[in-house]
């Protein structure tokens, strides 16, 4: 039997033949980064490789790093291993990593969503022998509605608030979700305010060529009435801070896949939860896996044990890797961060 192309090491997912890591959680000489969320892209590695679109976000998040970038579909050869990146549909520049070695193909998904959101390049299923997948929402209770349905819910909520002179505060993750929401908002309702943690990332998206509507810093809107009609995008960490006090009368909401569960919304004491995720839902995970035609599936973070057990019952050869993805990072969709606000 041949050795596995990727194995689990204390530092992260390791490709023996290529001598590199994918999204390592400890400093290593060579790291391929699937995307810039903080549980996947960490500081301290000597060299980094990512998709071209992720470049500026990675510099912003990791500072002055040694970074090589390649386009989606471009192949590089490294110690006899072919490495290429394909869109994962998660955030700007998010990529699946395809590794080919001696006739065998492995794909590491990173985080992904299968629905086309119109601002990120769509997820592309890649044929492979072994697929290493996330399972953040790997339970059948997670079932997303089409983006257009959620878009209508959000704009109706905003419209209703604006008609009652109540500012709409929409909490969301700063990188990826915020920009996706921006692209969905109906600008005729009122001005859009972006929190200081979100606006720099909007700028990066715009510089990368993604068209986003005009946003304002809160200090730019001096007219009180205009502020009452505004929709404010803010990171979850801004909830219950004095920053919010200036808005007086407001209604708040949170956009995340976790909002599917009523208890998760109630524990945050917010008015509305919009079920909008940048991860695949249960059906999305299953269809993505089937489309790879892989026989062997390795499940990383999320409901990994449960999901792997189900896959085994469905005839796949499934196992889990215990990774540090999805842990304690404000910018990802880890369940712990959602259950209690800090």
């Amino acid at each position: 039997m041949r050795a596995d192309i990727i194995e689990l090491r204390p530092e992260g997912l390791y490709c023996t033949a290529g001598d590199f890591y994918i999204d390592p959680w400890q400093p290593v000489p060579m790291a391929i980064i699937t995307h810039a969320h903080s549980d996947h892209a960490r500081r301290g590695c000597e060299k980094y490789l990512s998709n071209t679109l992720a470049k500026n976000v990675l510099y912003k998040r990791l500072g002055n790093i040694t970074l090589q970038t390649i386009d989606y579909g471009e192949i590089i050869r490294h110690r006899g291993v072919r490495v290429s990146l394909y869109p994962a549909g998660h955030i700007l520049g998010s990529a699946q990593v395809k590794i080919e070695y001696r006739g065998e193909t492995w794909v590491v998904s990173g985080d992904y969503k299968v629905e086309n959101d119109n601002i990120h390049q769509s997820f592309e299923p890649i044929q492979c022998d072994t697929f290493i997948t996330e399972s953040t929402f790997g339970l059948p209770i997670y079932r997303w509605q089409p983006q257009s349905v959620i878009q209508a819910q959000i704009n109706n909520w905003w419209k209703d608030n604006a008609s009652q002179n109540r500012t709409s505060i929409l909490f969301c993750y700063a990188l990826g979700k915020a920009q996706r929401l921006l692209s969905l908002l109906d600008c005729s309702i009122g001005p859009i305010v972006a929190h200081g943690a979100i606006e720099p990332i909007n700028q990066i998206y715009r510089e990368t060529g993604v068209a986003l509507p005009q946003t304002y810093m809160v200090t730019q809107i001096t007219d009180k009435v205009a502020l009452e009609k505004a929709l404010v995008l803010a990171p979850p960490s801004a909830s219950r801070t004095t920053w919010l006090k200036r808005f007086g009368h407001f209604s708040d909401a949170f956009a995340s896949g976790w909002m599917q569960i009523r208890g998760r919304r109630r524990i945050k004491s917010i008015d509305r939860g919009f079920v909008l995720s940048d991860h695949a839902d249960w059906a999305g995970l299953l269809s993505a896996i089937r489309e790879t035609n892989a026989d062997r599936i390795i499940v990383t973070h999320g409901y990994s044990e449960i999901f792997a057990r189900y896959l085994n019952e469905q005839g796949f050869d499934a196992q889990t890797f215990s990774t540090k993805f999805g842990e304690n990072h404000e910018n990802d969709d880890s369940p712990l961060d959602h259950s209690i606000e800090t």
């Binding site: 998760r264 109630r266 008015d271 409901y303 712990l336």
Partner: protein
């Protein structure tokens, strides 16, 4: 059904009381009386008895999906609510029924009771297919007898009182009968609820009690009391009895005993019901049901035998005799006395009972003290007297509704709890809003003193609350790291953490492994400064038992 589901969504999608009141007003001003009756019933906390067994609900999922049952259980554990889990798993369908709430209840849900259990799942599935996902959720919550939405009964009462332009107190009193567990609300009930007041209906002609007035925990230290509460002599102080708060209603020759949960418990207490011979009509007493023997109150654990047993044997009645300790009179000669001062009500109560002693009825004695210090000393005697502490009521206070503070306040001044340091050994995830976290903990004590070599940890209590959100999250992460094994929902942990557990009462018990049951156990503090070897022993716990 559509309008009620819509109302549910509106109430559930805001945390603003004003927005909730507005949604209620709009619903009640457009809904028919029959629909309003059911809506009031559900919103004010009425729940019909579970309409089908849980096993039928599980079968429902089997019928309509291909998911293995273990995966259903995992989903349930993650969601923490059975109705919600099922609503999230059933195939999506649009809202297809035009039945209104009362038609839906009458034609669809209540017939479940008479459908043979082997057909219930198919029947239920055909019903649920006519509802969208929120509709499914609401309907399943009704079926499981656990419908709740974030409005208090007081908010509903207020909305109805506004609508009908009558006093909230009247609505509050009328609503009590509407939400009874075996009651099927009708259009007529609703019309009675909002009917204008006239001479014939201002006082109940039926056996309904008044809404209970409840005490607040006193936030002051004894040194602050003179400044905050004034003279101790202006307060009527009594023992806080450790029993079941109840009202005895005597009207039209009949007697009713209501618990604080507004449950009718007359049949549980035949010796108290015998007072129908002695009490005049048009009388309502407020007080406490307490087990009384050897001239003193007995533990709440004993009283629980009287509630728990299916059949009241004469042996049980003899061994566990219950009396009613009256501390207030709310109606006398058919007149509502709640607006009178407590002083006046007490005079009336004492005057009548002293002139006509009734077997099984005691008056709650008033503790006379010329200083707060003296009251504090009384409080110190609580434990040996078998009471929970003191209750302070201002002598000029009226009788309010629930926890209102406008017409006078009752303060409870409880004794400090027993405390013991115990080791965390099992954890379980919470339900509802805490479904994602480990929040239910089991604690253990050592079975032998430190000097013994082969001592073991013996579970003695489960405790839920008492940690801050930050501590809960910390505990949750720690539990994930120290998991030894999982058995169903219960996670066994490597014992590493010590917590200070507080509890109110203690009694011997044959049903507990430790031989002891404690009342209201809760976490007081996380003792990070203590190793598990410094936790208390079972002998330490036993030393609290009354001699």
């Amino acid at each position: 059904m559509r309008a009620f589901v819509e109302l549910y969504m509106q109430l559930d999608s805001t945390t603003s009381i004003l927005a909730k009141e507005r949604a209620l007003r709009i619903y009640f001003s457009t809904a028919s009386p029959a629909d309003s009756a059911w809506a009031t019933y559900f919103l004010a906390g009425g729940n019909p008895k579970r309409l089908v067994k849980t096993s039928i609900l599980r079968k429902l999922v089997n019928l309509s999906t291909t998911l293995p049952s273990w995966l259903f259980e995992e989903s349930y554990e993650s969601v923490g609510d059975l109705a919600e889990t099922i609503a999230l798993l059933l195939p999506l369908t649009p809202m297809g029924t035009t039945d209104s709430l009362h038609e839906w209840m009458k034609n669809s849900l209540l017939p479940l009771r008479v459908i043979p259990s082997e057909h219930q799942a198919e029947y239920l599935l055909s019903l649920l297919q006519k509802l969208d996902s929120t509709g499914k959720f609401v309907c399943l919550k009704i079926i499981t007898g656990s419908f709740r939405v974030g409005v208090s009964r007081l908010t509903v009462i207020k909305a109805l009182a506004d609508l009908a332009e009558i006093d909230e107190k009247i609505v509050a009193q009328r609503i009590v009968g509407l939400v009874g567990i075996n009651h099927i609300p009708t259009a007529n009930d609703f019309l009675t609820l909002i009917q204008p007041i006239d001479a014939t209906n201002n006082i109940n002609q039926t056996g309904l009690p008044f809404p209970f007035f409840l005490a607040h925990t006193i936030p002051y230290d004894v040194s602050e009391m003179p400044e905050q509460l004034g003279l101790s002599q202006d307060w009527i102080t009594e023992w806080k009895w450790d029993g079941i708060r109840a009202q005895i209603v005597k009207r039209g020759g009949e007697i009713w005993i209501w618990s604080r949960g507004e449950e009718l418990i007359t049949e549980r207490f035949p010796e108290i019901a015998n007072m129908r011979e002695h009490l005049p009509d048009g009388a309502v007493l407020d007080g406490e049901l307490v087990v009384w023997s050897n001239d003193k109150p007995q533990s709440f654990a004993m009283l629980q035998q009287r509630i728990g047993r299916l059949k009241l044997t004469s042996k049980l009645l003899k061994e566990v005799p219950v009396i009613f300790i009256a501390y207030d009179i709310l109606e006398w000669q058919g007149l509502d006395l709640r607006q009178e001062t407590l002083l006046k009500r007490k005079d009336l109560l004492n005057g009548f009972i002293n002139a006509n002693p009734i077997p099984g009825l005691k008056i709650s004695p008033i503790l006379f003290a010329d200083s707060w210090q003296k009251l504090s000393e009384y409080r110190g005697e609580s434990r040996q007297r078998g009471v929970e502490g003191l209750i302070l009521k201002h002598k000029f206070s009226q009788y309010g509704i629930g926890r209102t503070k406008e017409v006078g306040i009752w303060w409870k001044w409880k004794i400090d709890p027993f405390t013991i340091d115990a080791v965390l050994i099992y954890a379980q995830r919470g339900h509802g809003r805490r479904a994602s976290l480990y929040t239910d903990f089991t604690f253990a004590l050592w079975d032998k003193p430190k000097s013994e070599p082969d001592r073991k940890l013996l579970p003695f209590a489960k405790a839920y609350s008492g940690l801050t959100d930050a501590e809960l999250r910390e505990a949750d992460q720690l539990i994930r790291k120290s998991t030894l094994e999982r058995f169903g929902p219960v996670t066994t942990l490597e014992p590493t953490q010590v917590f200070e557990i507080g509890f109110e009462g203690i009694a011997r018990s044959k049903r507990h492994k430790s031989g002891i049951s404690v009342r209201f156990p809760r976490i007081l503090r996380w003792r990070k400064d203590k190793s598990i070897y410094e936790a208390n022993t079972l002998m330490d716990l036993q030393s609290f038992l009354p001699h």
